[in-house]
Every structure is written in structure tokens, then in C-alpha cells.
Subunit: 457 residues, 2 copies
Amino acid sequence: MADVAARFAEVVGEHNLLSGAQVGEDYASDESLTCEPRKPAYVAKPATADEVAALLTAAAEHGVPVTARGSGTGLSGAARPREDGLLISFERMNAVLEVDVDNQVAVVQPGVTLAELDEKTAAAGLAYTVYPGELSASVGGNVSTNAGGMRAVKYGVTRHNVLGLQAVLPTGEILRTGGKTSKISTGYDLTQLIIGSEGTLALVTEVIVKLYPRLAHGATLLAPFGDLDQVMGAVPKIIASGLTPNILEYIDNLTMAAISYNEKLELGVPEEIKNATQAYLVVGLENRDGDRLDGDVERAGELLGELGATDVYVLDGGSARKLIEAREKAFWSAKAAGADDVIDVVVPRSEMPAFLARVRELATAAEGGALGCGHAGDGNVHMGIFCKDPERRRKLLHDIFAAGMAVGGAISGEHGIGQSRKEHYAELEDPAKLALLRRIKQAFDPQGILNPGTLFD
Amino acid sequence: MADVAARFAEVVGEHNLLSGAQVGEDYASDESLTCEPRKPAYVAKPATADEVAALLTAAAEHGVPVTARGSGTGLSGAARPREDGLLISFERMNAVLEVDVDNQVAVVQPGVTLAELDEKTAAAGLAYTVYPGELSASVGGNVSTNAGGMRAVKYGVTRHNVLGLQAVLPTGEILRTGGKTSKISTGYDLTQLIIGSEGTLALVTEVIVKLYPRLAHGATLLAPFGDLDQVMGAVPKIIASGLTPNILEYIDNLTMAAISYNEKLELGVPEEIKNATQAYLVVGLENRDGDRLDGDVERAGELLGELGATDVYVLDGGSARKLIEAREKAFWSAKAAGADDVIDVVVPRSEMPAFLARVRELATAAEGGALGCGHAGDGNVHMGIFCKDPERRRKLLHDIFAAGMAVGGAISGEHGIGQSRKEHYAELEDPAKLALLRRIKQAFDPQGILNPGTLFD
């Protein structure tokens, strides 16, 4: 093994290869609540696609498994390395290579954080619209899990905002897919195939992302409802209104209490209304024109009233920002509250009321709890699962995932399968489809060196 | 072979299996200008996914190649069958199964035409926004080539508007991919992999398409420019304005003359302006609110003037409809004018001026011509190629495709590779990428029975 370490060091330089005690705790896991940290044998920090290719070639020759890591903010364990493996950290490949105003795209390295991309695009009056709620997340990591977030209801998820990639195959070949255009019809779409593949098909070394004009005016409405079903019933009507919200979230009352407490949030909702509220709807609106935004806010307020909201609060800039930030930290609130797992089942939005009712039944039967919030416009339900007993929890998760899939949904809308969901995925997914995915995996990675144990065993 | 015919007939019924002289000319090709018609040995018209699966199973057992056909409006020969093959025509699988208002999706069979889907969704106040300019095209065919069209500048191409599929593998297995949700992060995205695969990976038997609210108010602006480069320079500015046009097309003066003549189009542009015009820009705007639309039309008019338009005409409903219809028929105008081929290279939109200048040089050097129009907002250039000599034309096309790819573009934005471009594709595409595509093909279709000779040999 000294031999392979020497090869890796030759590629990235001594200073950029860690092994043994040099490997810090941070490299041992992502933010998954259930995957035990596991330190890799090696951590390499390449600076170029050529270095990534050389690392993969060396790893393939020596049969060393390879896991990719962006910022490690994933929630499903896909960046958790193997003990006998090489972790490739993209922390040094963190440059915004270009913000191309005429084509409204940016070309970035995978280690670029969303915070930095936001800053660089803002300077050009543009925006990258994927905000999964953690600005320290890397673009490469987002590509790996097909990350989503609150603004997906208007702008789509990572998949809809990546136009091209540079990617390295496990064989060391460097490919370019897609480009600075939104349409290409020449062969199979490798860009889309690699997005969401959780580091099992290829390592992404460059990303072309789509940008939108940054709209000058925005507003956030908060609408408490006495009844969760009413909230869910309101969602399709708001979508159908043509108001095109850029945020459409629900937050159940307990989750709102938790995030308000943790983030010291005071939104001006009177106690008697809070007490009569089962869930809140948060509606974000934006426009390039201030008058038009005002008109939309008025119309949205009327509509929310018609749909059963107890009241409607138009939050001022500071409160709105705090609420959105607090909502983004719902994961941390759930973690702080002692959640045993966090899930993000997606179902058709019309199925949300029935699905949530079923989850409550299942959680009660398991003597556990399921609380949360979610991207209501997308049917993407984020929940903290409270159930200490591992066997009961395993069964509860299985039943929740099965209930989501039974109504045409999926285990995960944006977190991915990773290592934490693969057992349920293997049990619940169509075996013919799983066999096909394995054959596709084989087409990219015949030796199986890329992230073995993620997605499937 | 009598044996396999009997198997096919058993599956679909005697009346729905054609062979020999029963096979009409229509089944011999699509609308490609350069692929010679070629009648298949058999045409089967299944009514269900199970029948498609049984046909594929029988074809695989007997080693019979299989080509799928929607409406046959493709332009690259991907629906041109093999002489020894089975053509599966989806003409009987033509039902809109569901228009789901709450989830804003429709579930359709592949043989549904865009015209019918438009009618059914209009009744619900919704719209399927992919309009490749031929309303008799089928949704299945659109999925196969990842069809685009004029509204892609706002709504994207087929890829961006298909959320899920039912598809049959060559092994006879029936899979469901995606669903009535816009985000899923569980395994490789088979929906996106099958879209644009031109019938080489799987046969699509059901499609879940995304719908949008049908906006009540629309307007079309026509802006003549004295200089083609000015038109191209204007495009990024219009995109950046935030006016979100749903149409942004350029039409060169000769193409405008041809379509005006063929379609008896009178747009009220005075002769002296026509004579001083090198190209026109067509800008479509839409809004749910009439006043807002008026404001946008005014702003767009000012902007076009600032960007160098000689004048700006806001077309009334009838003229606007006629112009758009005429633009959609540009292919037929080119064909009527004796074009020897029609291409649709895509390049980053900022590269259009340089690319078009290069194409003019190449065409002149080949003693030929290249005229056209295109989806300017997408960088998708549609051109009639006039060059009688086959060898000179072959070289001209090669050089045009190479010039497009050299600036980060691709051979086709929406027509596909099919059979008519595969030679150039094989010459120009990265061999490592082609090898990977072949391995993916192998993962779906180990016997190679699905559309052999399309995309690659």
C-alpha cells in the first residue's frame, strides 16, 4: 500500500495527500444522522482535472475504492469514505472560472460554495437559483445528490440548472458533456445521468450552471392555518394562480415553535392565533418591478384568505430573512430536538394531505413521532423522525417510504439514497430497474471503484 | 420468418400487423430530406404496453430489429425502419389518459399528437409548452428526439417538460421512471437518459408531461434590423431584460421573403424598410394580466429601438398567428426552395454572430448557400443548405458542424442525430464519449435490436 500512497503523492504533491493520523475527523462523514463516521486510508486534494484523472488511474490499478467529497453537507452518507479507500476532496478546486453574462451561465469548479457563487453572480446582476439551505454546500456536492431547496418550486432543482459538466471516468478519461446552451440533441444525455449519481459513475471536475436575472424586489408572506389539510389543499391553488411563487413552504406548528425558539424568531403572530394554528404556509414572491410585486402581494393575500388562512402577515425584510434562514436550519432544529433520523420523501403535491395523515398513523403505531416542514409546492416533505428503538424505527421508515412510493412518490426528493437509505431502496425499488442501474454503473465503472456501498451494495 | 410474423400477429391481432404489400409508403421514412425511404418487413400497431413488451420479446428471440414510429415528422431519419425489421407504430396508443389539474401534469400515450394535447389541456386552463412547430407530431416522437421549438427560450425543450415515463426494455421488462413530481433523487435518472435516445434504449409507452397555467394575454413584435450582427447582439440584452419572452426568433431576409411568399403573408412592413433589412427579430410576450402585457410590449419596443431595430411592429392577432405559423413552416419553405438538407446546429447564443459569419464563408467556398432562421434565444440555428454536389455538401456539413462544436456547440439542438447525421457525429464526437454511449446502449439492449443504425452503427 506504500506504493499506491507514493503514486497519489506524486500526483497531488506530498502536502496534498493525507494518510493515517493526518486524516482529520471532518473527512470521516457528512451530516447524515445515522452513518457512523469512518476515516479513509487516504485523503487527496487535487488541483486539476488531470490530477483527478491520474488519481483515478492509480486507484483503479491498485483496486482502491474512491469517494468524492465537496463540503460534506450531504444528509445521506454519500460522502462517507471507505476505511480502505481514497477520499478525493475538492476543497482546492474551488474557483468560479467564469461568469458569462451574455450566455447567462457560470463555469465553476466543484469545490465552489454556494455562498461564493452567489456573491460572484450578484456582482453581474445574475443569480444561481438553487438554494438547498446550506450556503457552505459545494456545487459539486449539489450535482452529486441533485440538491433542491426552497426555490425549486419556481426554478427547479440542480438537474434543471446544470447545462454541462467536465467529468472524469474511473478509467481516467476526461469527458465534456453539454455546454453553454439549454438544448442539445446529440446522443444520450450524460450530464443528466451523472447528476444525482452520488459519485458512483464519474467525478465532476467542472460545472456549467444556468443563471437567471437577479430580481430586484421580493416579499415574504406568512399564513397560519387552523388545519394542516387546508394548507395542503391551498398549495395547488396557489400554483395555479400564476403568481409563480419562488418559495412555497409549509411548517407545522411544533416545527415552527422549535425553529422560533432556536433562532430567537419573533414574527408578530399573536399568541391566540399561534395556539389555534396547526401549520403555516410561507409564500415568497419576487418581481423585477416593485409595483407589480405589490400587486402580487395583494392578490396572494386575498387568495390565502379565500383558501382558509386565519390571517396573513407580510413580513418585513429582516423578519422575512430570519424566517427563511430559520426554515433552512430546520434540520439543525430537528437534530437539536433529538430526532433519530431526517427524511425527505417526495409525493405528487395533491397526495400530501393523505400521505401526511398516513405518516401520523404510522408514527403513532410505532410509538414514535414525525414532525416537519417541507417544500409544499414540490410535494417534498422533510421530517424529523423520533423513534429510539432501531428495529421499530427501521420498520417505521420502511412503511413511510412504501406509503410515499405507493402514491407515485419516491424515498428522497433531494437528499439522495447514499449509504443511509440503500437498504430500503433495495427492498422497495423495482428489481428490474435496480438491475438496469447496475448495468449502467458497470458501463461507467467496470471495476466498481467509485463510491462502492453508496446507492447499492 | 413466417413464424415471427405469426408471433407478432398473435400479440396485436391480425388486423394490426402489416407485412409485404400491405405496408404503405408512409411507414418507409420520416421527413428527413436525405434518408431514402425503406419499407420494413412488418408494421405492428400495439394497443398496450404489454403488447409492446410481447412484440419486443418475440423480436429479440428472432433477432428482428425494431424501430419505433410516432407521427413520422422527425427530420433526422430516426424513424426510418430496417428492411428486415419490425416497425412499431404507436398510432393506436393515442389517448390523453389524464389531465391532472392539482399536480399540473398530463399523462399521455406516446401516439398523442401535440394538437390533441393542446386541446385537452386548454379545456383545463393549462398548456403543454413544447411546440416544435408541427402540431401533428406525437409526444412519443418528441421524447425520442428531445424536440424543442420556439417556446423553448422560456419553457425549455421536451427534456425539461417530461417528468416521468413508462418504458419497455428490449428484454420485455416494463419500467416506470420519475412521476408526477419535479424532483426525485433516488438513483440514476432513467427518464432523462431515455429522452433523446431516438428509440435506441427503450420504447416509451406512457409519458407524464408538465403543464403550465395557460396565460390569457399575448403579443408578438416584429423588428427589422439592417444588420444580422446587430440582431445577434440584441438577443442577450433581451434575455437579460427580464421580459422573459416566450418567443425570440431571428429570420434572415431571404427566408422571410420565402415564407411570406409561400404563406401569402402581409405584415405591413414598407418596401423601403424590407429592402434595407438583413434580418428580423420576432419577440413573443405573454402575461396573465393584460395591463402588464401592455407595459412589457412598450418596454420591449423601446429596448428593440435602443438595440438598433429600424422599426418595431406590434402585430395584431391574425398577422401574429400567420407569422408564427409561417415561421413554423420554414422547413417546408426550404424544401420547396430546393434545399438539399436542413440542419439545426446549436451554439452558445453569444457565439451566433461569429458562427453565422463562418457558415457564410464555408458555404461560399463550397459554391453553395446556407439560409435560415432560428431560435435565437437558444443559439439554435436552423438552416437550409443549398449545395447540389454530394461530396462538396458532405464536406460543407462536416465543416459547419465542426465550426459549431469548436465554439462549444453541438451538431443538433433538437432534430437529433438519427441516421442522417451519424457519419458526422462519429467523425466529430469525442471517441471516449462515443465508447461510453455504446456501453450504455449495451446495458439497455445487449442484443442490439432497438433501432440499429440510428445514432451510431
